[in-house]
Symmetry: C14
């Protein structure tokens, strides 16, 4: 295969796999934190405020892992330096 095909092939597959695994982990993690928050509220309703606050902090930190993967996937699809180089040298 020519370099252009190789790089396109790798970029598409990598973007998908990276986003899939990253989101899989983030979904499981957020579910764990959210489920525990629900349990804690049921157990100690008076602390609902501080539990909710801690939950939001946790969700934000966990979500950041998914965001990193999403950013890399977008870079690979829309702003890929390898691809730019490849179509530039193929078109040159």
């Amino acid at each position: 295969m020519d370099p252009v095909s190789v790089i396109a092939l790798a970029s598409i597959i990598t973007a998908g796999i990276t986003l899939a695994i990253g989101c899989f982990g983030a979904a499981l993690g957020e579910a764990r934190a959210g489920a525990q928050a629900l349990q804690s509220i049921a157990q100690q309703p008076d602390e609902a405020n501080s539990i909710t606050r801690t939950l939001f902090v946790s969700l934000a930190v966990i979500e950041s892992s998914g965001i990193y993967c999403f950013v890399l996937a977008m870079i690979l699809v829309f702003a890929n330096p390898f691809w730019n180089w490849a179509i530039q040298s193929a078109g040159g």
Copy 2:
């Protein structure tokens, strides 16, 4: 295989795998959060409101992981920059 086939092949497979894994994780996560909410309501009926509110926040955050994967799958199928380039250079 020519570049067009390679890119189409990779796009189709990646779209499917990404969406499948992302939805698998989202479904498991939402099930965990939802099941815990049901348990918490049974345990502490008086807090049903705050439990439901926290559940909806959690479901929204978890669902966002599935949405990311769905967006990438749609981009790969309907607005794929690699495919546009490939059919453009094949047709040129």
Copy 3:
């Protein structure tokens, strides 16, 4: 293999795998939520209404993951842009 065969091959397999994994996750998730609802009703019969309502919301959100996969599978089988392009250029 010619491009038409490649794209048909990838579309068929991807549609099946995507739907299978998506439905597998949805089935497990819905089973978890449903089983927990049954347990909660047995534990707190007086809250059967709010438990059932929360269960339906959860089932709907979880089912949406399966629906996404079903939609992608249908797109790949009946409205596949790559396939349309391939048979168009093969017939041209």
Copy 4:
């Protein structure tokens, strides 16, 4: 291999794998819900009616995942657009 063989090969294998995984998940899910219903009836016999009703709703939703996979398998075996195109162009 010629396109006809490729498409037939992919259709047969995909139909089987999709149905197998979908039914596997549905069977496990229905077993989980059913087992929990049995446990709940033993625990709270007075609520047998609402437990049974919720069980049937859950079984129906879980079964729908298996039905989706069954439908796709039947489409691939008996109403496959790729196959129709292939034998049409092979016979043309």
Copy 5:
């Protein structure tokens, strides 16, 4: 390999794998439901009737997953449209 061999190969293997996975899931699911029924009867002997009735409903629904796979396996072995087409075009 010629198309006839390919289709026969795929049909035999797919029939076996589909039936095996489907029966594996059904056996595990039925065992789970049956074991839970035995436990519930021991725990609440007075409800043996409604437990048995719910068990039979659950077993029927779970068994349906195995039946779907059995039907597909029989179709692939004895009434396979791809095979019919293949031996027809090979004999023509």
Copy 6:
């Protein structure tokens, strides 16, 4: 390889794998049901009759999964339509 070898190869391997997986699942399932029955008898000796009856029903349903696989294996080894066609066309 010629078609006869391919079909013989696939039939032998599929018969073995199908029977093995099916019996594996059936053995695990029957063990689970049987173990639970033993536990239930020890817990509630007065209900030994209804427990034993429910156990036999469960064992029969679970065993049916193994029987399906056994039937398919026997069909593939002794009454295989693909094999009959293959040796018929090879001998013709």
Copy 7:
């Protein structure tokens, strides 16, 4: 490879794998049933008779799975119809 080698290769490997998996499942299942019987006797010594009787029934049913696999393995090694055909046509 010639058909005789292919069939011998497949028969030997399939016989071994089938027997191994079938015996693995049977051993685990029988161990589970046996261990539960030991626990039940220790818990309810007065019911040792009915426990032992139920154990024997369970062991017999579980062992039948292993026997099926053993039978298939013996058929493949000593009374293999494919092998008979192969050495007959090779010697003819």
Copy 8:
């Protein structure tokens, strides 16, 4: 490879794998039964006799799985009908 090498290769590997898996399962199963017997004796010393008797029955049944695999391995190494045929036709 010539048929003699193929059959020898398959026989050696299959004998080893079959014996290994069969003994693995038997060892785990016997360990489970034995450990449970030790626990039961500690819990109910007065029933040591009937526990030991049941343990021996269980061990014998579980060991039979390992013996089946051992027998097949010995057949494949020392009394292999395929091997006999192969060296006979190679030497003929």
Copy 9:
């Protein structure tokens, strides 16, 4: 493939896999720590301050693992010494 393609291929895939696995682990770890913090606050509300402080330290240390992987991925995509050498020698 020429060296440029090889290095681009390896860089893209490695960046994605590394980031995906690293973020997966970080997400699971942060979820575990966050869920435990929620549980601890519900259990001992008076210690919410020291629990929150310890949680932030733990999240920072866990997040550092994800950051390492993100840094490597960025180095591989935007400041890859192997790639610089390859396009330099390819362009020279």
Copy 10:
């Protein structure tokens, strides 16, 4: 590869894998039985004699699985009938 190399290759690898898996299972099984014996002695010191006796029986039966594998490995390395035939026909 010539038959001698093939048979030597298969014998060495099979001997190692068989022994490794068999010993792995035996080690885990013996550990389980031994650990349970230690727990039982701590729980019921007066029965140390019958516990130790049962432990030794169990260890002997479990060890026999490892011995079977060891015997097969030694046969394959030092008294391999296939190897004897191969070097005999190679030297003849």
Copy 11:
């Protein structure tokens, strides 16, 4: 492929995999230690000081595993003796 490509390929992939696995383990380990510290503080608030001190020691030791992997990854990317030799002999 020429040696330069081979070494670059191996260095990039190995650096990523090593860092990913190392960070995955470190993240899980630190999460376990951190979660346990949170639980211990909630259980025994008076010992928060010694718990925090022990936690920091544990985190440092666990983090060292991740650091080792990070160091190796940096060596492979920026100070790789094999790569230096390869470009030196390629340029010589």
Copy 12:
């Protein structure tokens, strides 16, 4: 590859894998027995002697599995009959 390389390759890899798996199992098994002994001593200090004695017996039996694998590895590296034959026939 020539027979000498094949046999050396197989011997080295098999020795390593066999020893690794065997030691892995032995280490896990000994850890389980040792941990249980520590727990038993803490639970019943008066029986430390008989616990320690049983522990040593168990460790010896478990260690024997590792020793078997070590012996086979040493045989394959230093007293390999296949290797001796190979270098003898290569040098002859």
Copy 13:
């Protein structure tokens, strides 16, 4: 590939995998010991000294496993006898 490339390839990959697996195990092990120490301090604060001392001994022994792997990785990268021989014979 020439011997130099082969040895460099194997050394780089092996160094990375060995260090990664070794550190993964060490991190998990240290986390387990550290978490247990935190729990023990919370449970028995008066024994903090002897617990901390035992923890440090355990951490040192566990860390030694990681150190072994680190040493081997460094040997493979910086003092590899195979590599020294290869570049010596390549340069000779």
Copy 14:
């Protein structure tokens, strides 16, 4: 590849894998024993001496598994009889 490369390749990879798996098992095992010792000390402080003594014996036995693997790895890297033979016959 020539014999020298093959043997070097196998030796390097086997040394790494063997050491990695062996250390992985040893680290997990030692962590289990160490964690249990910490728990036992917290539970029964008066027996700290005999617990520590038993812990050291267990650690020594478990560590021996890792040492075996380390010894084999060192033999393969620095005193490999196959390598000595290979460079001797290559240099002869």
